[in-house]
Symmetry: C2
Subunit: 444 residues, 2 copies
């Protein structure tokens, strides 16, 4: 009926279901596969076709989208599992791997295809960002790396799934997309947790959390993640479950393991990962990641008599915002320095990040200066913003108060130390350091 090509879609989880049903709405015949049968029923009800194995799903399909949760799942559905897709994949098919995986995995997948004599497959490394709403709306951010031929073939499909302004073609071919997603996830990993850390700190300070949320959203401590997660932090059962702790933990572990492999330091993402592991050990893995606020609030009343020095709500809120500003500045620095280390296009990284889930006031304010320090052109007029010593002072005040209250602020302490390290490494003759110079920690 339609002239549009048939699509196979493997992995109908929270993101994949929305992406696949969006394609159905755009008039495609989409054959879905997922290991969880109820999802298939739901997909049928939404107008999709279903298959009971990856092999069946891809038969005769020139376009295959894979949106499983992990590299191990991708390997299983494509190559190693029972009824894997590859033997049934038509010659010259386009294979879009949209899962968040290490660049080393997707590069290895390209090598496996060649070894298996299937280099006819047009592999596109195309991780996405934007959450379930934008998945269902066809307005995701997509970071695509592939050969020119593969991109030509797959572009229409990427365009169906992405916001027109948020389809990023990444240099470096296969692996480049995953690297760009990975550096974006540094911001996600840190800023999902910084929201919990800030709200936990606010709770110990005795602030009203609903009002604190509103105030943070109007402050320089704001971030896309805080806006998105904080309503669920305030729900007594952290509902609805929009993104499980296990998902951001998986992405965080990709960052830290790839960073170790590359010899690059990621102190902010590593700190976030360790705290996420603590939450996992408490059994919070399947819960919404906003529920990490519990890790910070559970100790309230159990630490003995404590007294802070901030007396007014204004003074307390100032500490919370200073904590977030310092954390987000360091997250921005770690993201851009890592991108530089990986040879990514820094202007593209910046443009992606400020417009995606990694966005924050501090990234927008300090990012252009950071790009300049790494030799790239800023995409916006550089604004030096606050001085680095003033960021250090804000962090010091916040961390001092948390110490008086005897509560951990893992990310804030890490940021406080990194800012001091950056100040120790700037040239002795330099005038007062601007906030973007925090990237000196990473050798800028």
């Amino acid at each position: 009926m339609s002239s549009k090509p048939d699509i196979a879609f493997i992995g109908l989880g929270a993101m994949g279901f929305g992406m696949a049903t969006n394609l159905v709405k755009q008039g495609y015949s989409v054959t879905g596969f997922d290991v969880w049968a109820p999802t298939l029923e739901k997909f049928k009800a939404a107008g999709g076709l279903t298959a009971t194995t990856p092999s069946d799903a891809v038969k005769g399909k020139d376009y295959v989208v894979v949106m499983v949760a992990t590299a191990a799942q991708a390997q299983a559905v494509l190559i190693e599992g029972e009824n894997a897709a590859l033997p049934s994949l038509p010659k010259g098919a386009a294979l879009l791997l949209c899962s968040t995986v290490p660049a080393s995995y997707v590069r290895g997948l390209a090598a496996q295809l060649a070894e298996l004599d299937r280099d006819d497959v047009f592999l596109v490394d195309a991780p996405v960002s934007g959450g379930t709403y934008r998945a269902a709306d066809g307005t995701l951010s997509i970071m695509a790396g592939a050969s020119d031929a593969a991109l030509d073939r797959a572009r229409f499909l990427l365009q169906e799934m992405a916001d027109p302004k948020k389809l990023y073609i990444v240099r470096g071919g296969v692996g480049g997309g995953s690297n760009l997603k990975m550096v974006h996830q540094v911001l996600a990993a840190v800023q999902i947790l910084s929201g919990s850390e800030a709200m936990g700190f606010a709770h110990h300070l005795g602030l009203d959390l609903a009002r604190t949320r509103e105030a943070i959203l109007q402050s320089q401590g704001r971030s896309w993640m805080f806006d998105n997660r904080s309503p669920r932090m305030l729900h007594p059962e952290f509902q609805p479950i929009a993104s499980a702790l296990t998902i951001i933990l998986k992405d965080t572990s990709i960052i830290t393991s790839e960073a170790r492999r590359a010899g690059f330091p990621t102190p902010m993402a590593s700190t976030a990962e360790q705290v996420y592991f603590s939450g996992l050990g408490k059994g919070y893995g399947p819960d919404d990641d906003s529920s990490m606020v519990r890790v910070y609030t559970e100790g309230k009343g159990k630490v003995g008599p404590v007294a802070g020095t901030a007396e007014t709500d204004e003074a307390k809120l100032e500490l919370v915002v200073a904590l977030l500003k310092g954390i987000h500045l360091c997250a921005a620095g770690e993201t851009i320095a890592f991108a530089k280390h990986l040879g990514l296009d820094l202007e593209q990284v910046f443009d992606l990040c400020i417009n995606a889930a990694g966005g924050s006031y501090m990234l927008e304010a300090a990012g252009p200066e950071m790009l300049g320090l790494f030799g790239a052109q800023a995409t916006a007029p550089a604004d030096a913003g606050a001085s680095l010593p003033s960021i250090a002072k804000g962090l010091q005040d916040a961390v001092d108060e948390a110490q008086r209250l005897k509560v951990p602020v893992y990310l804030g302490n890490q940021a406080s130390n990194l800012v001091r390290l950056a100040l120790a490494h700037r040239p002795k003759t330099a005038p007062e350091a601007t906030q973007g110079q925090v990237v000196r920690v990473w050798g800028a």
Copy 2:
């Protein structure tokens, strides 16, 4: 009866009781005071005299030792509390403050004495180290800073309490002793927790902990703290309570707050502090600090299906030792760099630390090179030991495995990042970095 002078002793806790009864055994008439009445009864039974207020205790005593737990307690018993000691203190008395307090407090105390027109008092800043056994044995390490006149007056008493080879007269007068104690406590803070982290990691790896303990003590991952704490980690109720979590947490908070005040980064001590705060929030404050191993083991079996790659006990143990080596190397670097920043005598710092509770194989092996990098003479022949990249590789292997097991190794991750930062900051033209060059993180 005796020609020895009468002594007042304020603060008969775990350390103070041993120190005071040792003086009784040496033939002194010692009048003790403590807020906890049962302790006074016990002190009487040990041959001491008792007083019911600080004021009564010091009346007519030319020598007063204060061994309370915190600066706030010292301020209360000496000046601000009910029946405080100062108004009753004889003119020209020697006042030995042996508590671990911030240098800024004891310097402020000297200023208060002057303001209160009591600069006749010979104040000695004399924190101690060595644990309860050595307290009772009169063989503590003591770090004393004071005017020459005060030191002349108090020396005999310091000698009664200290091991002859472990009485350190610190340059810088009042405050110098507390600074030396503080930099030593960087090692204590990190190495008390590294023992728990290593044993927790070993537990997740499936190693037998008693055998792991023995193996670590024979390895380059050994430390004084591990030797001392690990037997209690293996006790099902972490008994006996030899040193409460609240005590090392207090010392750790002194380090991090003084470091922030000085603009000096202490990423290792800060990480330890945050994990200690987590333990405090679980209600572990009064428990022995060895019980922090629980923070690492409690998640076992709750993180979902996991699998490591190390198969033999030898391979697993190697990971645990590599973790400890990396952590202890960074702790040594942070200690020496902080000492340099504070203007302490680095040779004295090194000599103190290797002979006190902060001692570790890695400090002994890498310390001399670190001293050299900061322009001090090494007190032992410099041995470059392992290369920094090999330390980085050992940490990477350990942290990768912990990541596979989905368990936090807070200190190991921090060390892994610091080593990568150090490698990023060494001169480009330098040959392969030696392990001591980790101090480049702190700007050496």
